[in-house]
């Protein structure tokens, strides 16, 4: 298994979602990617649904600085403190958990702990998690500020990349969605349009 890539640390957590701060500015896991947190006794899986880069302090808004600079990089070079005063964070919706060796595609009994590390899941783990499509139901009903069709399609696209045959994975997911969204053909069409290769 590839070395786990640590991407951040939990700074807010509830049963359904968690917010993590990235260790490096702009090093945010992609929208829809699978991340995990917790220790070996209880691991918690989540899918990135939102990300933001803001000032570290709410009262200090960034100002435009590049009028006399030639590139964006030059702005950061001439004001090295910026990287310390801005922060990137992302929100992830909890889609499952693992207790010992057993993987569950439903919400865990406890939310994540503050300051627990967040890792990007390596491809093998993504494939293991993607064996069941039960998480799609959570994503469709999560009621997040991001449209469900955007989030579901982003998650499926990300997951398909961990598979040898991405198309077969997406076709299987499409069939599952056809059942879940039999009463909402508009949404089904929107998602299928976004995962079509």
């Amino acid at each position: 298994m590839a070395e786990k890539e640590r991407v951040g640390e939990v700074i807010e957590a509830s049963t359904t979602t968690l917010t993590a701060q990235c260790y490096e500015l702009y090093e945010i896991p992609p929208l829809g990617s699978l991340v995990k947190t917790g220790d070996s006794s209880a691991e918690l899986y989540a899918i990135v649904y939102n990300a933001a880069t803001t000032s570290l302090e709410p009262g200090r808004r960034p100002i435009a600085r590049g009028k006399d600079e030639t590139s964006e990089e030059a702005i950061y070079r001439s004001s090295p403190q910026l990287a310390k005063l801005l922060r990137s964070e992302f929100g992830a919706v909890v889609v499952g958990h693992k207790e010992g060796d057993r993987l569950y595609h439903h919400l865990p009994p406890q939310p994540a702990r503050i300051h627990s590390f967040v890792y990007q899941c390596p491809p093998a783990e993504v494939r293991e998690f993607g064996q069941s499509f039960d998480f799609l139901n959570i994503l469709l009903n999560a009621g997040l500020p991001v449209p469900a069709e955007e989030l579901v399609s982003a998650a499926l696209r990300q997951m398909s990349r961990a598979h040898k045959d991405p198309r077969a994975f997406l076709v299987a997911a499409g069939k599952e969605l056809a059942i879940l969204l039999s009463g909402n053909l508009n949404q089904l069409k929107a998602i299928l349009g976004r995962i079509k290769q």
Binding site: S78, S79, P80, Q81, L82, L85
Partner: protein, 401 residues
Amino acid sequence: MSLDLTKVAAQVGNMVARLKASDEERRRRLQTALDTLNDKSLDLEGLKKKIESSQTTWLVAGLTDGLSPRYKAPPLPPEFSILATDGSHIDVDRHQSTRCYLINIGAVVLDYGANPRAFLDSFPSLYFGDEELVIAPDGAKGRAQPIEGALLGIKRGVDECRRLAELAKELPKDSSSLALLDGSLILWGLAGQSYPEFVTEALLIKGFLRYLEEIRRLNADRRLALASYISFPRSSDVVNALRVARCPHEIIDTDQLCGECASRECEAVAGVQDRELFANTLEEGERSALFSSQSKIVKDHYGGHWVHFFYLRVDGEIARVEIPQWAAQDESLLDLTHSLVLDQCRRGQGYPVALAEAHEQAVVTGADRESFWQLVESLLIGEHLPTPTSAKSFSKRTRWV
């Protein structure tokens, strides 16, 4: 009940009307001051001696390279670092159950050049021991002075300088750097009050000046300038030098002779501030001539760190930059100070960015103060220690009708 602004408005109106009426007179005085500053016929050597011998109640700038020279900013070195510290504190609160104070020092190191880097951190220290709460004389003579109020403010300034010296020790050899403090290098708090000599000894001689000396010594294997920055200064040292220049008498003694003076030539520039003077002479980025402080505390104690200063025009504002004598007499350090202070201001929208960030690191808000005392109280309760607070403090926290 908050302040009733409708009752204040009429009084503010009166104040503005008074200012408007005196505006014409102020402009006349400023013009006279400018004429004197640029008067080529002035005997500068004579004026320098006259300033040194004069006895005045007002502060007069000592001259080093004349009155009117101005200097363009030298080029920046390709790689340099800026160090800055600033502080904030929570004072002893006599309404609280515990006697203690907290000093929070914000520290910043900014590296510019090929490998830009930033270090921002804060260092809070809690002082609670009996020996930390007072400055006591060495022998039995004199009463120990409690460190609170104004004295705590001075101690904080000393701690800012100590942290700056510690940061400076980490600088690589052969580097070019500027260490920045906010405000004045002159510990005015000690000058104004009549503190016993052992307080000056503890805070100034064994404190502030010792750390300035540590910074000076680091120049053995690197270029390290030191400066303090005063935004929107209200000083009039240079204008007072012009007063001396205008005085027709050979000897000036404000206590003995000025009362009998009939001409009062010097009054023609009174009330003008140095800032107004240099706003009319300096171009963007230029600095004024170098002056030296003639304040008593500097003369008595500062020695090789004798405070010198110049004015700098940046972004339309006139700032006062104070430097110790060793940095003033070394042309390369003086140039480094001029170019780096200016560069810092330009990067920071008119105020040195390192100082602004050090302040942000140091700042203790009203909410922080409240949380701090709550933390103290909760830990005391956890240990079953008594936490009596005053009725006054309770009434401020719990308001009722």
